[in-house]
């Protein structure tokens, strides 16, 4: 009887933990929504979504997120343009070309990169990459969108490389054997057979990489110049959605309009990453079939 009771208890805990995972996602969403809605009670959602000025401390305060969205967009697109070709190429090399010993070394190196805390990369951006770009390209300032894009591309590499490599390795053996049997070289097989066959997995990797880039906070806060204005090019200082929340929450008075506006920005971020993750999950599932 005693054993039955303790077993009942522990199985209860196990089930509860499973449910808690859903609970957390729902809770996060609800808490963001609650505070975001408090803003929309006093500030029109249309002005928030389509306003072109983010002036939280002026009177009257302006909470238009277009400058922040454009900032995020610039940095993200820049990072993706840089890291997708490099990441997929490196995955092809590590997975299909490199001999086993080299492959192990390269994989550990990529793991090392994944382990470096983002704040350390941000620091390197401040002391080395920013000044380097400034002098090389004669920019007005090194703290701009491009510096952020480069560092974010670097940070997204491990995600893209490891998932793309898994996708390539997951292509059925028969595909390779058939290609080799028809006289194709290893390159032809890789380029024309494996890459298309692994495309859903690779897309999933790219989507997860994008998710990481959009959500990254510290690097962009440290190196992109923190200017909440619509940038005319990626070579100018800008500010992303994430950096706005991180840098302004400290000074926003709890319960003020500004405080709620930052939660509304958080809600937008949550929705964007939710959609990206959903797409990534769907392509991963497609890849497994």
């Amino acid at each position: 009887m005693h054993r039955k009771f303790s077993e009942f208890l522990i199985e209860g805990c196990i089930r509860l933990s499973g449910v808690l995972c859903i609970g957390f996602v729902v809770l996060i969403f609800l808490f963001l929504l609650k505070d975001a809605l408090s803003l929309f009670g006093v500030y029109s959602p249309a002005k928030f979504l389509f306003g072109t000025q983010w002036l939280p401390v002026s009177k009257p305060a302006q909470f238009g997120i277009i400058p922040l969205v454009v900032g995020s967009l610039y940095v993200t697109v820049g990072a993706i343009l840089i890291c997708v070709p490099i990441g997929v190429g490196a995955a092809m090399f590590i997975g299909e070309v490199a001999p086993q010993s080299l492959k192990n070394i390269l994989k550990s190196l990529v793991e090392i990169l994944a382990a470096i805390p983002s704040v350390v990369l941000g620091f390197i951006g401040i002391v080395w990459l920013g000044p380097f770009l400034k002098t090389t390209f004669h920019l007005g300032t090194g703290m701009c969108g491009l510096t952020g894009s480069l560092l974010l591309a670097f940070m997204a590499l491990p995600t893209i490389i490891s998932i793309s490599e898994d996708a390539l390795a997951g292509v059925p053996r028969a595909y390779r054997e058939a290609a080799f049997g028809l006289g194709a070289t290893r390159w032809q097989t890789l380029w024309r057979i494996l890459l298309p066959a692994a495309s859903s997995g690779i897309i999933a990797g790219v989507m997860l990489g994008i998710g990481r880039v959009i959500g990254e906070t510290m690097v962009v806060m440290m190196v992109t110049g923190n200017a909440p204005v619509i940038p005319s090019s990626i070579l100018e200082p800008l500010r992303t959605l994430t950096a706005t929340v991180a840098s302004e929450m400290g000074e926003a008075v709890s319960g003020s309009e500004h405080y709620f506006a930052l939660f509304a920005v958080g809600l937008i971020l949550f929705i964007i990453t939710f959609i990206i993750n959903l797409i990534a999950d769907m392509s991963l599932r497609k890849a497994r079939k």
Binding site: E11, C13, A246, M249, L262, I276, N277
Partner: protein
């Protein structure tokens, strides 16, 4: 035929060069840059003393202690919850809509930006639960953020235990819990540990979730209770490299070095655990 061979050679060389130039070299440079510049600046005093003179002198002891406390606290909350959830998903859950919902939640938790966890911790733990800006709020926030990684690692570890173990156990009349407790979990522990240490190392380097939940700008003493704030290495590095004017660069490098050393040490532990247990594996 020869042109096809040459084409392959060119393509593979380009791929190799690209990997070398844009992946290998930058990673090595980054790590060496911090190790060389930081290694010079780290002294025994730096590791064991309180910061002085607005952090421009002295050491970073409170930040090191703070980070270790945060790692421990995160483990305390994330480990039991994560392992139990994974056990539910692998051993108990049936393949139905509800289970798919849980799996989707785990995927989504892992994709939520860390700053959102910071906001969530701020409203739920700091505000709603009245824990204030404290170790308790910070570790709970980091724990929820680490949860998906712990769950995924535990799930993989559980799934790699052969199905036959469970079948034998059931056939001897054990209940589901007995099977899990005596025939599955013991063999999955190495995998669970490996994944957990890795997730904790990530939590150790995170800044955004602790910004508003625990991190102290400048607090040159050790914490007294779980309701106290602490300094933490990643936040400290952020502060001294952006918020303090005329900061000696030497100290920033040294802080970065200590942070990277802690994270790498945890990663190495995880690698050794993996190698050690793989040797002992007998099935």
């Amino acid at each position: 035929m020869r042109s096809v061979q040459r084409q392959q050679k060119i393509a593979f060389t380009i791929l190799g060069l690209m990997t070398l130039l844009f992946v290998v070299v930058p990673i090595l440079l980054t790590v060496l840059y911090i190790i060389v510049n930081g290694g010079k600046a780290v002294t025994w005093e730096f590791l064991t003393q309180q910061p002085r003179n607005g952090m421009k002198e002295g050491g970073i002891l409170p930040a090191i202690v703070g980070t270790i406390i945060l790692i421990t606290g995160t483990m305390l909350f994330a480990l039991p919850l994560g392992i139990l959830s994974a056990v539910y998903l692998v051993e108990y859950a049936k393949d139905n809509f509800f289970t798919r919902l849980i799996k989707l939640s785990v995927v989504n938790l892992s994709g939520i930006p860390s700053i959102i966890y910071g906001l969530f911790g701020l409203t739920l733990f700091v505000g709603f639960c009245h824990f204030g800006c404290s170790i308790l709020s910070g570790t709970l926030t980091l724990a929820i953020m680490s949860l998906p990684v712990v769950i995924t690692a535990t799930k993989e570890a559980l799934e790699s235990v052969p199905q036959a173990f469970r079948e034998v156990s059931f056939s001897l009349g054990s209940t589901r819990w007995q099977t899990v407790r005596y025939c599955v979990l013991p063999y999955a522990i190495p995998g669970i540990l490996t994944g957990t240490v890795l997730s904790l190392s990530r939590a150790a380097g995170e800044t955004a979730p602790i910004l508003f939940t625990v991190a102290a700008f400048y607090l040159p003493r050790l914490p007294r209770s779980v309701y106290d704030q602490v300094m933490a290495l990643p936040y400290h590095l952020y502060v001294i490299s952006t918020q303090v004017p005329n900061m000696p660069l030497k100290l920033s490098f040294a802080t970065g070095f200590v942070l990277i050393a802690i994270v790498f040490l945890m990663n190495l532990t995880s690698v050794f655990l993996r190698i050690h247990y793989r040797k002992k594996k007998t099935w």
